[in-house]
């Protein structure tokens, strides 16, 4: 009961986001004594790079981003790159960084077409009833835009990163999903399902809007 009060209190006291974002900008750009600059992998605008397995963070829910940083720091989402970085930031700095990326404009390219994309969209919107896979849309919302504060937007996410997360949920190496929802779903997806889904969700940006130099996989 006390833990719940504390958690609820945390959600209640999100201070002015604009001030946080301004402080976050400095950390993203320059890092701190204990943490590398976020921009070196995720870009200043959070759009990262399609080819590198780094996630896009632009315009993501601030609460979701903060929870991931907290989970990296506490070890409940262990990651050899992110855990030391998150631990190197203070609670205040984690909040500021989350606010910065949440404040970035999100942009997405057009919806992919073709047979595989249709399959991906069908999984997203209808699930796979015969294997007990819920439709993604039920939690992640119409068009994959997410359902704040804690369910992330997944449309536009780079497919390499998305695929790696589904694998991590399937193998149980990522365990910070609420109620184990993703750990229950991911093992029911075949590799072909994962490919179709993540390819449909990825929305290729025009090259000038990408953070890094465009690289073909």
């Amino acid at each position: 009961m006390r833990a719940a009060l504390l958690l609820a209190g945390l959600l209640l006291t999100w201070p002015a986001l604009a001030q946080d974002a301004a402080r976050g900008r400095a950390i993203v750009e320059n890092g701190t004594e204990n943490a590398a600059p976020c921009a070196s992998c995720h870009g200043m605008d959070g759009r990262a790079n399609r080819s590198e397995q780094f996630p896009r963070l632009d315009g993501q829910s601030a609460h979701y981003l903060l929870k991931q940083l907290e989970d990296y720091a506490s070890g409940s989402r262990p990651n050899e790159v992110m855990t030391p970085i998150a631990q190197g930031l203070t609670a205040r700095q984690r909040q500021d960084v989350a606010a910065w990326f949440a404040a970035q404009d999100f942009a997405a390219g057009p919806e992919p077409t073709g047979e595989e994309a249709r399959r991906g969209r069908a999984i997203y919107e209808l699930g796979i009833a015969e294997r007990g896979v819920q439709a993604c849309i039920n939690c992640h919302g119409p068009g994959g835009l997410g359902l704040g504060p804690l369910i992330p937007r997944i449309v536009g996410q780079w497919s390499d990163y998305a695929e790696a997360q589904l694998h991590a949920f399937r193998e149980g190496t990522r365990r910070n999903d609420a109620g184990g929802a993703m750990r229950a779903i991911a093992p029911r997806l075949t590799e072909a399902d994962v490919d179709a889904l993540t390819a449909w969700l990825e929305r290729d940006l025009p090259s000038e809007r990408q953070h890094g130099p465009r690289q073909r996989r």
């Binding site: 959600l11 209640l12 039920n138």
Partner: protein, 590 residues
Amino acid sequence: MARTMPAVDIVFVGFGFTGAIIARELKDSPLRILGLERGQPRDTVPDFQGPAMHDELAMAVRHGLMQDTARETVTVRNRPDQTALPMRQLGSFLPGTDLGGAGVHWNGQTFRFQASDFRLRSHHEERYGRGFVPEELSIRDWGVTYDELEPSYTRFDRLIGTCGHAGNVRGEIRPGGNIHEAPRSEDYPNPATEPSYLGAIFAKAAMELGCQPFQVPSANLTRAYTNPEGVEMKPCMVCGYCERFGCEHFAKSSPQTTLLPRLREQRNFELRTGAHVTRVDLTPDRRRARGVTYIDAATGEEVTQPAEIVVLSSFAYNNVRLMLLSGIGTAYDPATRQGNVGRNYCYQTMSSVTLFYDDDVHLNQFMGAGALGTMVDEYAGDNFDHAGLDFIGGAYIGAFTTGARPIEFHPVPPGTPRWGAAWKAATARHYNHTGAITCHGMSNARASNHVDLDPTYRDAYGQPLARITFDFPENDLRMSAYVTERATEIARRMGARRILANPRTAPWSVVPYQTTHNTGGAIMGADPRETAVNRYGQSWDVPNVFVTGSALFPQNASYNPTGTVGALAYWTADAIRDRYLRAPGAMVQR
């Protein structure tokens, strides 16, 4: 001319939780089982999917999953000397329709009744003396005890994966759960929900007043769970769309998420939807049912369905209506107090306290679930000493966070203009800063409250509507006033800027929604003159007719009824399978 279908051994009229439970319990029997459902078939995929299921206007405001009052409704009045009028829009209660019935749109609050609830009259006479129960109340014992039902409660909890923290396991009291509860034979199958912020504030205040708060037992699942039928459910995402909605997440227990996947594979089971049963066909001496007659919704044809056993498993008062339309038993007359069908119609005595907070207290109740609540049981049933009080019964007091959906949730303090800029400003100001405490009160029977057939109004098929005559007994109003006071004491400690008590007042009105806990009319008990069915749910008058659901309750307890409805279905299933089939006929002699 009516078409006649091949005979079956057992037919269910209405296919929700109770029909599905009994049909599944007969899986290894040689019986040919037929479920008749007058509504449409439906399943999680595709019928309950997002984002369409979150259409609050269609589902909550326009009652998308509820019975269509243009085809059939009930007429209502407060007293027998009034003329009843049809309820043309659903309000006070929301009966479900289509496959799965109200088991689809319920909230998932899953309780057991207290041991004393099943012996309500005897318990009070033993504890307080013979004259204590107010004269106006026609409360009774159920004819079945908590101890007898306990294994059935446990089976229902396992079936639906109830999430909670047990406060009494075989007499061992466990802090953190409901310590006032009758003993459970085992803990809940799944862990309790986490309190919402409102629930946490409530718990702190209640503890300061010496109460023992706990999380409401929930059928919105806290983790993935495979039930004993081998059907897997998923964890709740706390999306806030339970009551009045179907669950897209496979996370709220319903016939669809617990039983129907297995029933579809069951070789001796057939389901027919779009089959509107108009009567149970009896032999001329009215001692035996030959089957049922239904209208095939697809063709409009009348169909005769012979059956050896008929189970009335539709919504509470619809079972009563079908008995009266078919001539099963004798219609109750409140003037003479004779007749065994239609008696003891009861409801629920709801009241609340609203808490208006300062705008720096963000309750975020849009993150909710139907059974996400924190409650105390100190003032429920006979958990507190009534000596010196002028009523029996009580209510549980709880703080629920069920979703705060945008169209219907717009609390504003009294005195706010009803429209215009000031209303809009107040709505924006109070939306995320207003909570409520609910008092979920017992409903006691009295002689004038009953169900019969309306003499004037008829449904789309030309059959008389059920007529509900109901008002709150004086006893229940006194109880509600007392418990609402206790809830107000808790509210005063919850740090709100302003609190507003909303005690229950008479007369009962059909307009504001209160709860869909309609009970009684086909009550169970030991006396064939004053109860419709025996302790197994078997009709005294027509022994091959069984009744399920809350119609069986002689009066309604302080808790949500579904747990007891589920337990009684297992109880009746055991009786049919293990006793009736071996020796068909009355299981209790008149």
